[in-house]
Amino acid sequence: MRLSDKYNRANLFTSLIVLIITGIVYYVVIHFILTERLDRDLAVEENEIRQYTNTYKKLPLPASYIDQQISFKVFNGDTTNIREFTYTTYLNPKDNEVEPGRMLITTVQLNGKVFLATITKSRVESEDLVRIILLITLGVTMILLIALIFVNRFLLNRLWQPFFTILNRMKGFEVAKMENIQEVPTPIDEFNELNKSVNEMAAKVKQDYKELKSFTDNASHEMMTPLAVINSKLDSLLQTGSFSQPQGALLEDIYHATGRLSRLHQSLLLLAKIENHLIADVQHFDLKELIEAKIRQFQELFERIDLHLESTLENCSVEMSRYLADILLNNLIGNAIRHNHHSGQIKIKLSKDQLIISNTGKNKQIQQNLFDRFSKSAESEGMGLGLAISKQICQLYGFEIIYEYIGEEHFFTVQFNSKD
């Protein structure tokens, strides 16, 4: 739920409740005041009747006025405590309509006799007044509510605008790009504070990121040095004299392990560099030439397990780093060789907008997370970084790399113009 909706809801609900209560109080109070006034009028009338009977020693005529009716009745009962105001109906003789009325029943003494006097007044005017007041109140309530809705919708939206701008800039913030979140000019203190905090946080994040990055750089640098020492010491050890065959095998294993370690390290560094867009030497060149060179380079490896290579190469101009193109081809062709079986085949097909490398393979099972780091089949001798690097390279240049398994063959397709 949006903040403004929530706020609107609460606001309107409270306004409505308050206005209803106000309306009720208004109604009751005004009703009470008007009844009070009617009662006073009725008392004045009663007074007049008493004075009249005292002066003239007779009852006034049971007069019928437009808004007032008086009637007398002889009363024989106990007269104490007979004086009460009640609501009643009032028959308007002019319109012959029944209207709400207010009645005073009182007693009048005349010549030792007790008369019951009933004075009735129409309440229609006061009722009308109450109704008008109520309508006005209701009208004002409605107008107020509508005004509130509009104010909330438009003013609040406008007030929150800097907030949304800041939010969007935060969404677009990329730590690797090292750019600042721009300040949004606003006269509102809270947003200014938010702005400030966001910028401070971004600065801190960038600082931490920079430190972490330089730590990684230094760590990798420092790790390479002992690795270089191990390697050189191994080379030196090898020169020192004669070793037995088992010792030779041990040495070979150590060589392999250090070789793997340094390659692993270089691959991770490469991945980090591609991710951070640190490889810049983009140039135009024909991929066909590079693939032809690669095929020559890999010749021995094809021959070693009797692979049959089929290549159909068309000219294909690409715009990317030659260094990365080299790595991409190494990885894809290298995989096609590594995961192939004896006397299998490899097909390389290059056309204007795609490169397809397909090969027969030992492994039929396809891993879903083929392009993830360190994902590799159990018997693979690789590090499981080759395809992750290939994918990164493709992403960097907006290429698309797809893996498919069709008819006993593994297909890797690089689409050069996936954006179009």
Binding site: A228, Q239, Y323
Partner: protein, 225 residues
């Protein structure tokens, strides 16, 4: 040849010294920036091995100094920094080659030898070993003055062996030298065997001695028996 090794890592320095000393090579070393500056100013070397991260200063500054002194010393940068920028910066400043740590000593030796040959013999870039004569720039090989025809890889292999005479060269190092270290292939380098076998056959058939022998299955050694 006379070589200056500028390297602050003691272990690596010792290995390089041990590998390069002998066969008429004179090796000196410096372990920090000041020591290296002094040596560079005082003496001439055929080749300087320069580590980039040095205590007391940047290796690239030293390189700049060498070039400003108009010295003809060959410079090979050895660095743990695998960044393209550093490599380009080094080569732009006039370094002859750039080798990333970790490296094989045999690779280092081959590169240093190549630099020294280029510097010292200018057009006439020839290696002679007993009855074998290799014209590196023309890519010709003669055994007892009779030309032997080698493939590109066999030729590279021969030059590599000649730069590492009497040393055990691992198959790993040979593979990386011939195919590049970014190939990331299986650790099974047996396919090198074919090239070594062919090279051996061509040399002996031309009347050369058999100088190549396999060592513990790890690698090969080229040299007098």
């Amino acid at each position: 040849m006379k070589i200056l090794i500028i390297e602050d890592e003691q272990g690596l320095l010792e290995s390089i010294l041990a590998y390069f000393t002998g066969e008429g090579n004179i090796c000196e070393y410096a372990t920090d920036f000041i020591q290296a500056s002094e040596k560079i100013a005082l003496y001439n070397y055929d080749c300087i091995l320069l580590d980039l991260g040095l205590p007391g200063g940047e290796g690239l500054v030293l390189l700049d100094k060498i070039k400003k002194m108009k010295k003809r010393d060959g410079v090979l940068i050895i660095s743990a920094r695998h960044s393209l920028d550093d490599r380009l910066a080094g080569l732009d400043l006039g370094a002859d080659d750039y080798l990333v740590k970790p490296f094989h000593l045999s690779e280092l030796k081959a590169r240093v030898s190549a630099i020294v040959r280029r510097k010292n013999f200018e057009g006439d870039n020839v290696i002679v070993f007993n009855e074998i004569r290799v014209d590196v720039s023309a890519m010709n090989v003669y055994v007892k003055e009779k030309q032997v025809f080698l493939t590109k890889k066999e030729f590279d292999l021969l030059v590599y062996f000649l730069s590492n005479k009497h040393k055990v060269v691992t198959k790993n190092a040979m593979a990386e030298h011939l195919w590049g270290d970014e190939m990331d292939l299986s650790d099974d380098f047996d396919f090198i065997y074919t090239h070594v076998k062919n090279l051996k056959k061509k040399l002996t058939e031309a009347g050369g001695q058999d100088y190549l022998r396999s060592v513990y299955g790890i690698g090969y050694k080229f040299g007098d028996l």
